[in-house]
Symmetry: D2
Subunit: 143 residues, 4 copies
Amino acid sequence: MNDEPFPAASAPYHQLLGMTLEEWRDGFARVVLEAGPAHMNRSDIVHGGVILSMIDQAAGFCGLWCSVPGNIRKAVTIDLDCRFTGQTTAGRMVAEGKLVSRGRNIYFARTEVFNAAGEMVAFGSSTHRWRAGSETVEGSPGA
Amino acid sequence: MNDEPFPAASAPYHQLLGMTLEEWRDGFARVVLEAGPAHMNRSDIVHGGVILSMIDQAAGFCGLWCSVPGNIRKAVTIDLDCRFTGQTTAGRMVAEGKLVSRGRNIYFARTEVFNAAGEMVAFGSSTHRWRAGSETVEGSPGA
Amino acid sequence: MNDEPFPAASAPYHQLLGMTLEEWRDGFARVVLEAGPAHMNRSDIVHGGVILSMIDQAAGFCGLWCSVPGNIRKAVTIDLDCRFTGQTTAGRMVAEGKLVSRGRNIYFARTEVFNAAGEMVAFGSSTHRWRAGSETVEGSPGA
Amino acid sequence: MNDEPFPAASAPYHQLLGMTLEEWRDGFARVVLEAGPAHMNRSDIVHGGVILSMIDQAAGFCGLWCSVPGNIRKAVTIDLDCRFTGQTTAGRMVAEGKLVSRGRNIYFARTEVFNAAGEMVAFGSSTHRWRAGSETVEGSPGA
């Protein structure tokens, strides 16, 4: 278990969108966001970019949980895709990323996004690469 | 030519990200954004979600230009993918979406994103569906 | 239940690859293939095209099961993606496609492919459109 | 220029499908196939799996041209997506893969597929990883 404040708390873009990391363990990350007026497109539904941002974040984080307090892990997204299965109005959105498979320095994730009613509004797949020193669950002091 | 204010100007999410539609014609849309501190992830590079948002927007808009002043066209994104080919620090980002092919009510786009140095940092493909009344370039009064 | 011979049996490309539909119900399709020398690439592993073909087929079929004997349903694949999580040598391969979500005339599938050892070697997502008359589980006499 | 017989000639799966490498240079590969009865699905159009196989092959090869006669380069496909923009009946099909961008050991490709009438019937993007010794254009004796 990692008792450090979630890194999500300190990234400016997370603050801009109001995205927070709610649950985190090895191979899993749940990112939540309270959709409000600022997230809407011109049709008054949540912009696809909000959903894509949540997927990128939940997917990335599912491979970055760290077993050693104080250490961190980092990765870059290589590619990502998303299918939109519904539309979202205001309210709590949840994105859950799960690590599906991994190689030496690459991992694959699947992520589902749900609206306030609990309906799946999008699902995605993505490929990520760990930065050097981040491949194992222990992470590194300054990865 | 469409002299109306770009719809991009009025969508809350565009304002949140600072995304504007710079050039628009039938089959093409260029979306720009000045990346600053608010767009950064915890590694001080532009968050993937910013790039994905720009792709979704440029891709969507490339099929929505309207030849009749006052009319509009609308679409939903069915799915979208993106490959990240570089990283972006602060500065002007540009996303150019091009309509590749269309069916009766679906269109496909390819979008490229460039950083301030003009390097391509991502490219994506996407599938969109026109809402009823938006299939033709004339659009509708209240699509 | 549909007691008709599986349509898979009659498609020439299925025969070329040796691909058969092993299990089929509403929202699910399992396609199998015995990988042999003809399916190999120049590194003596199963060519990615075999896996992609199985995904396209299992994904398509998961939305085409028909409750009325003698009727059929048809669809076209709009787009498809695949991530390769392992490699496959000779032996029985299995692709399982599941319908994730559907709209009026579009459906989304997720498909997983397993090698003879039961390891997942690929997973994909795809978007399909039913042809007119194929949207409901009853299908049509000559869809 | 590489005067060696194309590796495509020797891969069993290429022979099964009748796929040949017609043009090859650094960053580009054209794969062709004469679509006949064996490539058809149950609607008498070319099966999506044929198109996906051609994309995987052209995309992979665009990063594998080798400047040193006798040397070779190898790669694996990490992931691939495809959008289908048209349908194909019998006749000559062409897939052209172009290397879009590369990192140290990963490359990205974009591939377009055309039917006998020269119409684009599909376009795809993909991510590939060079095997050790294959990262540079010179390749290796036994990569």
